[in-house]
């Protein structure tokens, strides 16, 4: 039985490549093609070049209106997209797919250098405990 969609395979591959440091992500401002004509807020936007294409993963907060409570509420999505050289979105995936959250987490860890940050903090702790 074949389970995997091509999107799922690509996202898993990107998690592995990101973890192995074979793909470098950059924290950037989202391009106008994503922010224009919408009230959605993009707090974190990461982009990487992979095989002559630009892949991007970002957090998107959207406002919705609830007719039941007659009030607005916010939801948050993780969106994965492929851009062309002019920053136009040629494909995007905004399904609630668990691997998307894992890719986003992996990219964020790499960008923030969580490993080295924790190592630094632990080194300080060790130094203090020896004093």
């Amino acid at each position: 039985m074949r389970f995997q969609s091509k999107e799922a395979q690509l996202i898993t591959k990107l998690i592995r490549l990101t973890n192995d440091g074979e793909i470098q992500w950059e924290l950037k401002d989202p391009p106008r093609s994503i922010t224009m004509g919408t009230n959605d807020f993009v707090p974190l936007y990461f982009e990487a070049k992979y095989k002559d294409k630009f892949v991007t993963i970002y957090q998107q907060r959207c406002q919705h209106f609830s007719p039941d409570t007659e009030s607005y509420y916010w939801t948050e999505n993780i969106v994965f997209a492929i851009l062309d050289a002019q920053d136009r979105v040629i494909w995007e995936n905004r399904e609630n797919f668990p691997a998307l959250f894992d890719l986003f987490g992996t990219v964020r860890e790499k960008i923030a250098g969580i490993d080295s940050l924790l190592d630094d903090l632990l080194d300080d702790e060790n130094e203090q405990s020896f004093k």
Binding site: M1, F3, Q4, S5, A8, Q9, I11, T12, I15, R16, N19, E95, N96, F97, P98, A99, F101, D102, G105, T106
Partner: protein, 151 residues
């Protein structure tokens, strides 16, 4: 000489037909009750199990990233996933059961047609492949959970 009955033949015929119809209705109700029971169990258990599977999927991803340092943590989560899927499987519709069976067979393929292989035989590539499959399984269960709210 056959003994004559005081019940007219037409009444016997109606009784026989009613018995056959009653049997058909009973069989139908038996299957319907089973479906309703399954649906209730699913509505009660699916949200919690899907949440646990979602957490396990994320844990697998974290543990696979440190596979070269030791594969035991990832294998432990795969064993947990196997338990969760085996628990929810009987409560699911046939199509979803087939899908989960397919995943479980891939997780522990049979050796010599009988013996199940051990989880410890998983390689890193195979484990990542299973992680991708698990994502699809969890997404399907999430959708089923949403559908169940309208049952």
């Amino acid at each position: 000489m056959p003994e004559s009955s005081f019940i007219p033949q037409w009444m016997t015929d109606i009784s026989t037909i009613s018995s056959i119809v009653g049997l058909i209705v009973t069989v139908f109700l038996f299957f319907e009750a089973r479906t309703i029971r399954k649906s209730f169990l699913r509505r009660a258990r699916l949200p919690a199990i899907t949440k646990d599977l979602l957490k396990a999927t994320s844990d697998i991803s974290s543990n696979l990233k440190s596979w070269p340092n030791g594969k035991q943590p990832a294998l432990e989560v795969f064993a947990q996933v196997k338990g969760l899927l085996e628990n929810i499987k009987p409560k699911l519709p046939n199509e979803e059961q087939k899908h989960i069976n397919g995943f479980l067979k891939k997780l522990q393929p049979r050796k010599y047609m009988i013996l199940k292989s051990s989880l410890s035989e998983l390689t890193e590539d195979k484990a990542w492949d299973l992680y991708t499959d698990l994502n699809t399984v969890v997404t399907r269960l999430q959708q089923l959970d949403q559908d169940s709210k309208w049952d």
